[in-house]
């Protein structure tokens, strides 16, 4: 197993090592409260909700180019055709494959598994975590406008609960073949933005807003209303990180109050 140099227990966080935590105290309710708020935001934009299995067909990950972007691969399950999903949105593209999409908004929440972190710690760097995503599919102009709007929406939600956050362009490649060319091109085109917060002295991403251009639409044969290749984007939220940020920045008493009501 991956060696964890330092386990980081915290309020309501029992760190078992290897990016596995048990949440107690106010943390489960806080995660639910954050997720309710995000679902409301998605619903206001007309999102249709899906619930997908955490077990994803490996063929879907191949079609999505996951193994080219992340050569170390997903968390595998032996002797079957499934992996544990590394992100919640892949199955949305598969669900819509071969269709016409027009200002289509989906939202999905699921357990996700990423073993790529060298240092798992506390509730901020987990092998197994919970991701809420909003997936946007449609024409290029609409996707660009929605990307900007979602950066504002996420920042506003953070401000509503008095979280101090920053928005920055991310430089890690998140789709397509790995390598410097893809990485610098994604960086140049500012395809990935992150909404980041400081949690116990560490600056971590609470959410990312990602443009894919036509990458997934090419892979999953998605057209827009004009018959052109569609564009896609996704907004991804790590619920445990949001809960940890609230506790770290607002304190346990304020976090407990937030956990007990709709945010």
């Amino acid at each position: 197993m991956t060696e964890t140099p330092q386990r980081r227990d915290g309020p309501g966080i029992r760190d078992h090592g290897d990016g596995r935590v048990t949440l107690g105290g106010i943390m489960p309710a806080l995660c639910r409260a954050v997720d309710r708020r995000l679902r409301v935001a998605a619903s206001r934009e007309g999102a249709r909700e899906l619930r997908c299995p955490a077990l994803i067909e490996r063929a879907v990950l191949h079609r999505a180019g996951y193994f080219e972007a992340f050569p170390h691969g997903p968390t595998e399950i032996r002797d079957c055709e499934y992996s544990l999903q590394p992100a919640a949105c892949y199955q949305c593209y598969a669900e819509l494959a071969g269709t016409c999409v027009d200002r289509t908004v989906l939202t999905v929440c699921g357990r996700c598994y990423r073993r790529s972190e060298d240092t798992f710690a506390g509730a901020t760097r987990l092998w197994e975590f919970t991701m809420r995503e909003v997936v946007l599919l449609g024409a290029a102009d609409w996707i660009r406008a929605e990307r900007a709007a979602w950066i504002d929406r996420v920042s506003d939600i953070a401000r509503e609960i008095d979280l101090e956050v920053s928005v920055s362009v991310a430089t890690d490649p998140f789709f397509g073949p790995s390598g410097r060319g893809r990485r610098v091109l994604q960086q140049l085109k500012e395809l990935k933005h992150e909404i980041r917060a400081v949690i116990d002295g560490e600056d971590v991403a609470l959410a990312s807003v990602n443009l894919h251009e036509t990458f997934f639409a090419n892979r999953f044969d998605l057209q827009d209303a004009a018959g052109e290749r569609a564009h896609t984007a996704c907004v991804a939220f790590g619920l445990e990180r949001w809960a940890a940020a609230i506790v770290a920045q607002r304190g346990e008493a304020a976090a407990a109050a937030l956990a007990g009501r709709d945010l």
Partner: protein, 78 residues
């Protein structure tokens, strides 16, 4: 146009866009419609690095500097 911009225009049109029926000038946006792909961006960076005699760090590869060939020349070659 500076000699650096002229050299960049010649390189991009001759080496990167040859046969594609496209040509750029110093102010043509490079990344708006797939003009420069992930392979060609590396060739463009390598050309700039050779011309200035040192690497271009990844952190300096941002849109404000790579918007067009004029901004590349101003940021890295002049």
């Amino acid at each position: 146009m500076s000699r650096h911009v002229d050299a960049l225009i010649e390189f991009v049109n001759r080496d990167l866009l040859e046969g594609r029926g496209r040509a750029v000038d110093g102010e043509t946006p490079l990344f708006e419609d797939g003009l420069i792909d992930s392979l060609n961006i590396l060739r463009l960076i390598a050309f700039v690095e050779t011309r200035r005699g040192r690497d271009v760090p990844d952190r300096e590869i941002v849109m404000s500097r790579f918007r067009n060939l004029k901004t590349i020349a101003e940021s890295f070659l002049e």
